[in-house]
């Protein structure tokens, strides 16, 4: 036990070390707060050669000085100010940045109060072993603390404290290091005031730029360096930049406005078809607020939390029925000069001219009218590093040897983001590469945000680069598991087995021995992480006993361990076409927890006794040990079931399961469950190694798929009921809220007008019934199309903590069950791990870890896994899209002959100058654009195209068309793009 002591201090010191300040409480009262602070003498300086501080270093090793600098000695330390961290974090994180850094405690606190994410990044740096970072607690040190009674503003005191610390270091090192090689402490500051003061005090100081320039190996670092403001000062001394965007309101005014309801706060969400439009969903309006034009969007970037002022109702309008592509409209913009952009002005001017021609009020469908608004301030930026390509046309010199500093455009892969202007010396070598770019700022005088290059990901269209860029875009943690995490695995590693039966061993305590039971698993082919297995048998009383056995992950993953927190932060396993990013180390996922056949494994079992109508008579949960008798694929299981000659125990079990599953499904459908469709395709890889020529086919669904699904649903529901009963405040559940009726308005309108069909959305049952009636005898896949579109109108399902929402909103709309959770895939979903722990506590197998009693803790985890789940889905889809692109390329070039790929497609949205189509065979959505404007009827959702002979061909939503599909590499951005042109009813190549 650490030594207990009382810190004694003389009475006189109290007046210096007490910090008095005034605080405004939530109710608006002003309270005086007094806090004390203990000054110490035992704060370690962290310098390696220091002999004085050896005794009070604590557990952290001291750091050695850095070298490799032209100006400073072989042994120097840099001591940056808070601003340096706030602006140059990428630089400090870069692996080629090696100087020893001393971080002052006051600097750290400043960073913490300004940006928590940055603070966490610094903390991560300090924890890692690659960087030489030492935190000096100057505010707790008697000699360096700046005391409350000293005069001056907070900022002045802060910078005085930094100087004091540097001075102390100089003095301290003189004292302790007797040799003449005393290390230098270099203060890094960009503040002129601070520089002057440092000069007065005789300290060594420099700006970050000069420091990096003086480093011997700096080419990489100079690019990462954020040019903060100086550049603008240099470039345009006399000429004043005109203001392109309105100034943001002051923060106080924004908060007051949001509070009073005058302003609305929400996430900015740009329109992916039209870069000059965006919307913000706010709670006070049923429809999202529409932001039209650059000025109204006022420098907001996708994901930012913005404050919006609503415009008068006379200016409300519908979204434009037009596709405006940023790359096309802005292709002539000069990166160096943000003000010119003649073409851009035109694009915007053209649009507003069109509005003025008077046709616009009639042109939009009054039903689609939305409130409009303008952004007056940013509540919170949500900038992250973006995956980009360098725009070739923006290069002034593309000679590969040129190392001149150039200002170029980086075009983000995500089309909702604006182009980012970056300055780099290595522009030519970055062409054809995927690179990571961070946005630094967006001045009101600049049309584009300014950013800096972070690192390259690899060559465009190389699988590694594409994969990494997808993972980065969707924020998937894909680093290998760290040492601390792997240390949580059983020491036996691959050789771990269930020990021989012994009721006293940790594995067997309280477990049922089900090794004799005929259990099998049914999974997709090639599945390695088998987390569920099933069995069924007839009971003597005529009822059926069915059981679902789930891998007992919670036996291996204990709460509050590094492995657990890593899994919680990853949230889910991400499946890409050719890669799986695991949530748990693969030893668990594919071996110890995988319910492989003929091997004894620990499981968590759910048993039901079901009567002949598949009604549950009895449910039982138990931890168990099982030995699966077979691992089938869906296809194998199906064949076995259908083969009348097979009558072994396994097959009989599968048949039994199947009959129950059918009854369960019928009951579920009767209760109003939705049968939704989402386009799912399967990518054929040629071989696991090359995976080059690929093909696409639609996924086939077999009876056995539904068999497994039904039992997993049943298990999830039973578990949900049990844990909700046991832990009414903290149970981990999943729900799917009923979508607001307004979501369906457009779809209903289209259906009525185009097909004369109606959609009843009053309940999920009614919707299911009316979806069944949406049949067009001429178009067999019309029904699927409607289902896909209906699915898009719905909300997404989410995890939640049962104590945080009212009881009547627990329901799952899509499944039509009053309560639901995820229990059956603990290897790949973290929510299931939590459900396992709660169920295990509910059956009194293990006590519930205290953190699972805390609602706040659960809510925090739920928020994270909901986000991760969404991101994982999007990443998976994006990966499929990329491979579909590759497949198309392969298909069109098969046999050395270039052929065009033509597919059937359905129109899902019509614009004045284009149509959006869905190609069901490939499961992708594409855009067909026309060069000219066409007659567009927003009321009937049709667009009319001239067929050359003077007649018009009308294309409407839901029409079946044939499109030519090709993958085209965008000349400027190197972005692989699926390009579609209409082949029938009319060839749109020339339109």
């Amino acid at each position: 036990m650490a030594e207990i002591s009382i810190l004694k201090r003389p009475r006189g010191e109290a007046s210096q070390t007490q910090r008095k300040f005034f605080k405004k409480t939530a109710r608006g009262r002003v309270v005086k707060v007094l806090r004390e602070c203990y000054l110490r003498d035992d704060v370690g300086c962290g310098i390696e050669q220091c002999t004085l501080c050896e005794s009070h270093r604590g557990s952290r090793p001291p750091i050695s000085g850095g070298g490799g600098h032209n100006v400073y000695s072989q042994n120097h330390y840099i001591l940056p100010e808070a601003n340096t961290f706030l602006q140059q974090m990428d630089l400090l994180e870069s692996p080629s940045f090696s100087p020893a850094v001393i971080v002052l405690q006051t600097v750290l606190e400043e960073i913490r109060s300004r940006s928590l994410p940055l603070f966490n990044r610094i903390n991560a740096l300090m924890k890692g072993e690659e960087k030489k970072v030492w935190v000096f607690h100057n505010d707790f040190m008697r000699d360096t603390a700046v005391l409350g009674h000293e005069n001056g503003s907070l900022a002045e005191r802060h910078s005085a404290g930094i100087r004091k610390a540097v001075a102390w270091y100089n003095h301290h090192l003189q004292q302790t290091i007797r040799s003449h090689k005393v290390p230098t402490i270099v203060l890094i500051t960009d503040d002129t005031e601070q520089e002057n003061r440092a000069k007065e005090d005789g300290l060594t100081y420099t700006s970050i730029r000069t420091y990096i320039e003086g480093l011997q190996d700096n080419t990489n670092l100079l690019d990462i360096l954020v040019d903060h403001g100086d550049g603008a000062k240099e470039s345009a001394p006399g000429q004043k930049n005109p203001t392109l965007y309105p100034e943001y309101w002051p923060t106080a005014k924004l908060t007051a406005g949001v509070k009073s309801g005058e302003l609305h706060q929400g996430h900015f969400n740009p329109n992916q078809y039209n870069y000059l439009e965006g919307n913000v969903t706010v709670p006070s309006f049923p429809k999202p607020l529409l932001l039209i034009g650059r000025e109204n969007m006022n420098r907001s970037v996708q994901g930012d939390v913005v404050a919006v002022q609503v415009l008068p109702e006379s200016e409300w309008r519908a979204p434009r029925n037009e596709v405006v592509d940023q790359d096309m409209a802005l292709q002539n913009d000069d990166a160096d000069n943000s003000i010119e952009g003649g073409e851009t002005e035109d694009a915007e001017a053209k649009l507003s001219k069109k509005d003025k021609q008077g046709s616009s009020p009639k042109e939009f469908n009054p039903m689609e009218k939305q409130p409009t608004g303008r952004v007056v301030g940013i509540i919170k930026r949500n900038w992250r590093p973006y995956v980009c390509h360098i725009d070739r046309t923006s290069l002034t010199s593309s000679a590969s040897t040129s190392i001149a500093q150039q200002t170029v455009f980086a075009t983000p892969v995500d089309r909702r983001l604006p182009r980012i202007r970056i300055r780099t010396r290595q522009a030519p070598s970055l062409l054809e590469q995927k690179i990571l770019v961070s946005i630094d700022r967006w001045e009101k005088t600049s049309r584009y945000p300014e950013g800096h290059f972070v690192r390259t990901l690899g060559k465009v269209e190389s699988k590694e680069a594409e994969l990494e860029s997808l993972l980065l875009e969707y924020d998937v943690a894909y680093r290998p598991f760290g040492k601390a995490i792997l240390a949580c695995l059983p020491a036996e590693g691959d050789n771990w087995v269930v020990p021989p039966k012994d009721s006293n061993s940790a594995e067997w305590r309280g477990r049922e021995d089900l090794r004799e039971l005929t259990i099998c698993s049914i999974d997709p082919p090639g599945c390695q992480d088998i987390d569920d297995a099933l069995h069924a048998r007839l009971l003597p009383n005529g009822n059926v006993e069915a059981g679902v056995h789930i891998a007992d992950v919670s036996h291996f993953v204990h709460p509050e361990t590094p492995m657990d927190s890593e899994a919680a932060s990853r949230g889910t396993t991400v499946y890409m076409v050719d890669k799986r990013v695991d949530m748990l180390p693969s030893l668990l996922g594919t071996n110890l927890c995988s319910l492989r056949p003929y091997v004894e494994r620990l499981a968590f079992s759910v048993f039901w006794e079901l009567d002949s109508n598949a009604k549950i008579v009895n449910t039982r949960f138990t931890k168990s040990v099982i030995a699966s008798k077979a691992a089938f694929t869906y296809e194998e299981a199906q064949l076995r079931k259908d083969d009348p000659n097979m009558n072994d125990e396994l097959t009989v079990g599968i048949r039994l399961l199947n009959t129950i599953a059918q009854k369960l499904k019928a009951a579920r459908m009767a209760a109003g469950a939705l049968n939704l469709a989402s386009p799912e395709v399967k990518i054929h890889l040629d071989s696991s190694e090359s995976s080059d020529p690929v093909d696409v086919e639609q996924k086939e669904l077999r009876e056995t798929n539904s068999l497994v699904e039904e039992f997993m649903l049943l298990a999830n529901i039973s578990v949900a009921q049990k844990i909700q009963e046991a832990f009414p405040h903290t149970a981990v559940l999943r729900r799917h809220c009923a979508p607001p009726k307004t979501n369906f308005e457009t779809l209903q309108d289209i259906l009525v007008k185009r097909k004369g069909l109606s959609l009843d959305v009053s309940s999920s049952g009614a919707l299911a019934a009316s979806l069944d009636k949406c049949i067009d005898p001429d178009q067999p896949s019309f029904n699927t199309l409607v289902r896909i579109m209906a699915t898009r109108c719905m909300l997404s399902a989410e995890y939640f903590c049962s104590g945080s929402v009212s009881r009547d909103t627990f329901g799952h709309y899509g499944l039509a069950t009053p309560i639901y959770t995820h229990f059956t895939s603990p290897i790949r979903r973290y929510a299931d791990v939590l459900a396992h722990r709660q169920l295990s506590a509910a059956i009194s197998y293990t006590p519930l870890h205290p953190v699972l009693h805390s609602k706040a803790h659960i809510e925090q985890i739920m928020g994270n896994i909901n986000r991760r789940h969404r991101m994982a889905q999007m990443a998976g889809r994006a990966s499929v899209e990329f491979y579909v692109g590759l497949a198309l390329k392969a298909r069109s070039q098969r046999g050395g002959v270039t052929r065009q790929v033509e597919e059937d497609a359905y129109v899902i949205r019509a614009f004045r100058n284009g149509i959006s189509v869905f190609v069901s065979a490939l499961g992708i959505e594409g855009l067909v654009t026309f060069k000219h404007e066409n007659k567009y009827d927003p009321n009937l959702y049709t667009v009319s195209l001239p067929d050359g002979t003077g007649k018009d061909v009308t294309i409407a939503v839901f029409d079946k068309v044939r499109v030519r599909i090709e993958v085209e590499k965008d000349r400027n951005t190197q972005r692989g793009k699926v390009k579609m042109t209409l082949a029938s009813p009319i060839d749109s190549t020339n339109l």
Partner: protein, 270 residues
């Protein structure tokens, strides 16, 4: 403003202490001229004064016990003390709980059977609050009772201990007290017994033992401080008695205010 980190990753608490370091402690005896015994105890910025009257005849005959003395504890929380929650009346639930905690802690320690049919009044004044009020009040009451000469079987030394993740923190200030699960423990250091444990928040059972042990250890440290304070006080008294007894006629020196106080009360006693 951001809430300060209660325990940084460098093992510093928000006020510069390490987890097992307690705040500056000062123990002053006989501060109050009228009371039979009094003590002012400060733990950092928490300051509590306790005055003890008695054992004396009770005004309230109904509450008397024929075989022992009864304790009557009152608590004053002036508005300037900075205790959150505004003005508290005498019948405030939190006050009642606080006083009954004190009463229950001391009843078994005071040798009440030596003073049948009498009453001991303990008045607790919170002068300044910055967390760990109960701890300060218990320590001050012990010293005030000793100062008053009330016979007790042992010292009662209180400490607080909170849990931050898995690190126990000793002697909490208000920031820590508000945000962390914490317990107040009062120990009898000579007999190694615990007379009071309060825990108003949830806590993992596995951690409780560790925290309790640490609090008991800390209590022994507080005990040493108390012994020293009482010893100093006794020595002063002794000196005062000697000077009064030995001095022929002449008035002793009045160099220090404290010395004067001591002498005056010593004179009263004699």
């Amino acid at each position: 403003m951001n809430r300060p980190e209660l325990l940084s990753s460098y093992n510093y608490r928000s006020d510069g202490r390490r987890p097992t370091e307690m705040r500056s402690l000062s123990l002053l005896l006989s501060q109050h001229p009228q009371a039979d015994g009094s003590a002012t105890v400060t733990h950092g910025l928490t300051e509590v004064m306790v005055t003890v009257f008695g054992p004396r005849e009770s005004k309230n005959k109904a509450g008397l016990a024929h075989d022992r003395a009864v304790l009557s504890v009152t608590l004053d929380v002036p508005v300037f003390s900075g205790v959150p929650g505004g003005r508290r009346g005498r019948s405030d639930k939190r006050n009642m709980e606080f006083t009954s905690n004190i009463k229950n802690t001391f009843e078994p320690v005071i040798q009440t059977h030596l003073h049948p049919r009498s009453q001991i009044d303990i008045n607790i004044q919170i002068l300044q609050a910055d967390g760990s009020l109960l701890q300060a009040a218990v320590n001050a009451t012990t010293l005030a009772l000793i100062d008053a000469g009330v016979p007790m079987s042992d010292y009662v030394c209180a400490t607080t201990c909170a849990l931050h993740d898995s690190t126990p923190l000793l002697d909490l200030n208000s920031l820590e007290e508000n945000d962390l699960p914490n317990l107040t423990v009062a120990v009898l250091p000579r007999s190694n017994k615990v007379t009071l444990v309060t825990l108003e928040t949830q806590l993992a059972v596995e951690r409780f033992e560790e925290m309790l042990k640490m609090a008991v250890e800390a209590g022994k440290l507080v005990h040493r401080e108390m012994l020293r304070a009482v010893q100093n006080r006794s020595e002063k008294l002794m000196r005062a008695i000697e000077s009064v007894g030995g001095g022929v006629g002449g008035r002793p020196d009045h160099r220090q205010g404290e010395e004067r106080d001591v002498e005056m009360y010593a004179g009263n006693d004699l």
